[in-house]
Symmetry: C2
Subunit: 188 residues, 2 copies
DNA sequence: GAGATACTTTGATATAAGTCAAAAAATTAT
DNA sequence: ATAATTTTTTGACTTATATCAAAGTATCTC
């Protein structure tokens, strides 16, 4: 059942099989329809998700009410509202499914219990944070140094799945441009 | 000598005095004149700095050759080219002193040795990464949701030290605007 | 302290991307 | 299938910020 999660942990950590069983035992399966909010602005993020299948995004609203997509997680990845999950303070982000999704979810409590109990899990979490940082870094850099068209072209070549699986609306908000601009630059 | 560093660790961790001695023993003092490069693009970042006094920035160059300041560290904070220090790959960032600075420097090797040896140091490092992530997050959000003037005003009210201690050139590059724009919006 | 170098201001102009609006196309629901 | 809703495209217009250029200030260096 949690096979894919176990496989993921086996491939990304040196945690022993026994401890992988212990870890995956802390996750609960959760089937969610597309376009479902898992977390809203103002709530405290109590869960972290492993995406078995489907797709999840995190986004926030600008003062003008525009959605800005921060992160998109496809199959075989981990996602949550990182800042709220870490700080256990009110989130300014939303977490939402973009497709019908099968998730495995772990509570904040259990997660940090594992961080204390299993050194290699803390190690894994640290590496997750390192990756999250590098990813963010790259997003800032892209946003600052590339034009809208260049960002689109780069995503197209580096992460074609984004273009294949996401609607223009979501894609535009991920690339920090308007739908109209995306529509126009696609036909250039 | 490393008094300020020890004080910093006492205030930000639960590490025992004995282990704080062990940790600060791994740091070496380094006095650096202003406008000195500590790391250049293409080099691998082997050191992490505690800023005892002075000021350090990290920045990178766009394809057009413009400097973009990513992070600024004043007294009593820790700084490095995080992505290169983590990955031990070639850096695309520069690290530079903006003022005459007294630093304490630790090697990547010693740093990760302490991460292995002292659980509370790994814990501290994890929290450092969490903070770095939150800080980045906020920078992305500000850049996307606020106008140049709004970003300047917010920095002025939240971090007046930035405006007091940095030249317009550096400040502009930190706010992701040109010097000319900064000059203009200051007189509005 | 004079000259060189680097920084800041001001002006004129250009441009990428946003906004508003409405039609066309694609999904979703009944 | 048909209607209703949502998404995408296209057009006309606006705007914030960048660019280029030149003059004015400040800072370093010999």
């Amino acid at each position: 059942m949690t096979g894919k999660l176990k496989y993921y942990l086996k491939n990304n950590t040196n945690i022993t099989d026994k401890q992988i069983d212990q870890i995956s035992g802390c996750f609960r399966p959760k089937t969610v329809k597309k376009n479902t909010l898992l977390l809203s602005e103002g709530e405290t993020c109590k869960e972290l998700y492993f995406v078995h299948s489907g797709c999840i995004r995190t986004y926030y609203l600008t003062k003008q009410g525009h959605e800005k997509t921060r992160h998109i997680a496809f199959d075989n990845s981990i996602v949550t509202s990182v800042s709220s999950f870490i700080s256990q303070k009110s989130s300014f982000e939303f977490v939402e499914t973009l497709e019908n999704s099968e998730l495995y979810t772990i509570s904040n409590k259990d997660f940090y219990q594992l961080v204390s109990d299993i050194p290699l899990w803390e190690n894994f979490y640290r590496k997750f944070l390192e990756m999250a940082y590098l990813h963010q870094n790259k997003k800032i850099e892209n946003r600052i140094t590339l034009s809208a068209k260049q960002r689109y072209d780069r995503l197209m070549s580096e992460e074609p799945m984004y273009i294949q699986r996401l609607s223009n609306k979501i894609l535009a908000s991920y690339l920090d441009i308007t739908q109209e601009t995306l529509s126009r630059l696609k036909s250039r």
